[in-house]
């Protein structure tokens, strides 16, 4: 297939995945912010939402303070923020339009319909309207993803779309960990006491994993188990290990189909091997923050390797 087509497909799926992530982050943050002040701890939850879902430096050039109004505007609607939900959906749709022949009709209809509907939202929303808006965003991505799953041919086009989703997901989960790792460190149990419980469940909510957590661990919320779930648990759809399982599988399918392996296959396999042999205790022992920073760098390298090998 054309490199440009593969590139556009890859980015369509990165941007829809990102729109979903930003929506979940906003959803979880609104919920956290609605708790009485005493439950919130010292940090600014709005600022940390921006830090994990977008670019804090860019935010600070546009707004004086981080509060519900400014962060909502920045993350959901601001055209100057390349990762705002509006921009994500628009960029996804633009990419889709340029490769219409590579999309099924159902996928195109989902994205194009969303793009047309996006304009009908008045950005001046109260909390209830805003939460309905976030639900709508999540539904759009579900429908689009479902359309892809149900209607696409299982060939390289499909595999590149999976790569886009998985690279983006791994990045999103790692960014949450990067911003909030301090909440998961063992000492924070004593420092913040049970107040951190709500911060922890917010992390789970940002990856849609509150229920999953209980099914997997069958005990109350513990920070190191959250880290385990988000990093190493292969069953958890947004964990780093699961994302890499998907990346390795689809990169292998592509390599088999094209009859040639390259740097991206080697990089993805190496990372998956590392995740498989890790234990959460050792990650904490060597430093959670260092681990996460290292992972983000590796994941970016993989993105660059995929682009270099296939998309340029």
């Amino acid at each position: 297939m054309l490199a440009r087509t593969a590139d556009s497909l890859y980015w369509v799926f990165r941007y829809t995945e990102r729109a979903d992530f930003v929506a979940r982050t906003l959803d979880a943050t609104v919920r956290l912010a609605s708790l009485p002040q005493a439950y919130l701890g010292k940090g600014n939850e709005w600022e940390s939402a921006v830090a994990s879902a977008s670019d804090l430096d860019l935010f600070k050039t546009l707004y004086a303070t981080a509060n519900e109004d400014t962060v909502r505007d920045f993350l959901a609607f601001n055209p100057q923020n390349p990762s705002s939900i509006r921009n994500c959906l628009q960029t996804a749709r633009e990419n889709a339009r340029s490769v219409r022949t590579a999309l099924t009709f159902e996928m195109w209809e989902a994205l194009n319909g969303a793009w047309l509907e996006l304009k009908s939202f008045d950005t001046n929303m109260n909390r209830e309207e805003f939460s309905r808006f976030l639900d709508w965003v999540k539904r759009v991505v579900l429908v689009f993803d479902g359309a892809a799953y149900r209607s696409m041919l299982r060939n390289d086009a499909y595999w590149f779309s999976r790569l886009g989703s998985a690279v983006e997901r791994a990045d999103n989960t790692a960014r949450i960990l990067d911003v909030k790792y301090h909440l998961l460190l063992p000492e924070s149990e004593w420092v913040g006491g049970s107040l951190d419980y709500f911060q922890w469940t917010t992390i789970l909510r940002e990856v849609s994993a509150v229920t999953a957590y209980h099914w997997v661990y069958r005990q109350s919320v513990k920070p190191w188990l959250i880290a385990d779930l988000l990093i190493l648990n292969r069953q958890m759809p947004r964990s780093l290990a699961n994302c890499y399982e998907i990346l390795v599988r689809h990169l292998d399918l592509i390599a088999e189909f094209y009859g040639r392996r390259g740097p991206s296959q080697r990089l993805a396999s190496a990372t998956l091997n590392r995740l498989s042999s890790e234990r959460i205790e050792r990650i904490f022992g060597n430093g959670l923050h260092e681990f996460v920073e290292d992972f983000i760098t590796t994941n970016n390298k993989l993105g660059a390797a995929i682009a270099e090998q296939y998309l340029n």
């Binding site: 297939m1 490199a3 340029s98």
Partner: protein, 477 residues
């Protein structure tokens, strides 16, 4: 004006007589309730929006969705009428290809005085770069969209030859698709020749003109200016139906006079490019240097015989409005036959006698700019105001060689839905003629365009025209 036109259903407008191809359609029009037609028209519009024919977005932030109006009453031709048209079209396109091979080659028709030399050499559509270039299989016009109008029971005129990058074939295909969905019973009672094999015929044509080389299958691509082009929908539609890559200039590159496309598996050599970009923009090294839509080096690869461009570079000279006037002689010279399809009688304003006739009779003539297209730069005398006529006369006097004039043709009319009910409206027909190295293919039918305004003769979609499904009835009704 309507009074003098041939009506395809009644022969003459208002006549009680019904011509045979329309006999059972007439009954259908009478038997179907207005409510049913309203509902079907809504469904048709809904279908076109869903399929996405509307996505002609001009500019980035806009969602302007232009829908070309579709009329549900088909335009019907008898097999015998079509057979005649088909023969005429094949003859005409054969002559066009021979003419192009000649003027870019030995130029015998110029020496024989069939066409004045200055008309060719001073014409911006004549591409000097193509002189003595051997194009693969000696075919220039692979896809022609010849505009034909009917003025009488047996009189068909060619209005324009459209030998560059004719568009509209997606409407021919989608119009049939929507008709078959909305009115399946009509297709039970009429044997309508299918058009759905057009993409197959096009692909076979394109493959047949690949440069001659080793055993592998020819790689065909469709080159589009991109998603901001008004015909982008058609480009993506055709690429999809053909099963070929829809490429933009940035997807192609030229190395050592060979064209490659960038794929996920590395560079892949391209053999045939069905290009929907005009000559001027196709290669910034050969033509307009400011074009960002083009592929640098493409023309060199083309001249080296390593890639086929469909249509060839320089075909614009053959559908030039001034050259058009010589087509009957061109057909005679190159085929040795009398032309089956007629030319509209035309006055060339470059000739002094014609010029004075034209200026004296502007009120009755249609005057066209030689370089114009799409119904622009045109004066329809009988419909023009005095001021418009005077204004146009000034333009003609200023550069007579830039204009031709024709009598106001009374294009045939077809029953069409109007606000007032079913009424006759003027139509034309654009069949698509495919010339390969093996044969000339034409799917029976084409795109019928209809001027929706009462009395209007301008069928162009940019000026309020609509479209109809076109039926060729196989073996009576």
């Amino acid at each position: 004006m309507l009074i003098d036109s041939f009506d395809e259903m009644n022969g003459r407008p208002g006549s009680a007589e019904v011509r045979p191809p329309y006999a059972s359609l007439r009954k259908w029009l009478d038997d179907t309730s207005a409510e049913t037609f309203d509902a079907r028209r809504d469904q048709a519009e809904h279908f076109f929006r869903r399929v996405g024919i509307t996505f002609a977005v001009y500019g980035d932030n806009e969602s302007s969705e232009r829908l070309i109006p579709f009329d549900v009453i088909p335009r019907v031709l008898m097999k015998s009428e079509w057979d005649f048209l088909e023969r005429g079209l094949k003859q005409r396109v054969t002559a066009l290809n021979a003419f192009l091979a000649d003027i870019y080659g030995p130029q015998e028709c110029l020496r024989a005085g069939i066409v004045p030399s200055d008309l060719i050499f001073q014409n911006p559509q004549y591409r000097l770069e193509m002189k003595d270039v051997a194009v693969p299989h000696n075919i220039y016009v692979h896809i022609a969209g010849v505009d034909v109008v009917r003025v009488g029971e047996n009189d068909f005129y060619v209005l324009e030859d459209n030998a560059r990058t004719p568009s509209g074939v997606s409407y021919m295909l989608e119009n049939r698709e929507v008709m078959m969905r909305l009115f399946p019973e009509l297709f039970m009672s009429h044997r309508v020749a299918p058009v759905e094999n057009y993409p197959d015929a096009l692909l076979a044509t394109l493959r047949s003109v690949a440069p001659i080389r080793q055993s592998r299958d020819a790689v065909v691509t469709l080159l589009t200016p991109g998603r901001y082009n008004s015909a982008y929908y058609e480009h993506s539609f055709l690429a999809d139906k053909l099963g070929v890559e829809l490429v933009e200039a940035s997807d192609l590159f030229v190395k050592d006079d060979v064209v490659y496309m960038r794929t996920t598996q590395g560079p892949t050599q391209v053999d045939v490019i069905y290009r929907r970009i005009d000559d001027d923009f196709i290669d910034p090294l050969a033509f307009r240097p400011d074009s960002v839509l083009g592929v640098p080096g493409l023309i060199n690869a083309y001249k080296a015989g390593n890639v086929t461009l469909a249509n060839a570079i320089g075909t614009g000279i053959s559908d030039d409005k001034a050259v058009y006037t010589y087509m009957p002689d061109i057909v005679r010279f190159f085929t040795g036959q009398e032309p089956l399809l007629q030319n509209v009688p035309t006055w060339r304003c470059r000739e002094p006698d014609s010029l004075s006739y034209v200026l004296d009779n502007l009120g009755e003539l249609v005057v066209k700019e030689v370089a114009g297209s799409g119904g622009y730069g045109m004066l329809v005398g009988p419909h023009a105001t005095k001021a418009e006529i005077e204004d146009f006369a000034r333009k003609i006097r200023h550069s007579p060689e830039g204009f031709i004039a024709q009598p106001t043709l009374s294009l045939s009319t077809c029953p069409t839905f109007a606000a007032s009910g079913v009424a006759p409206r003027h139509v034309d027909l654009r069949p698509f003629v495919l010339s390969g190295s093996d044969e000339i293919r034409i799917v029976p039918g084409g795109l019928t365009r209809v001027a929706l305004k009462e009395g209007s003769l301008v069928v162009n979609s940019s000026q309020g025209g609509g479209t109809k499904d076109t039926w060729v009835l196989d073996g009576g009704s």
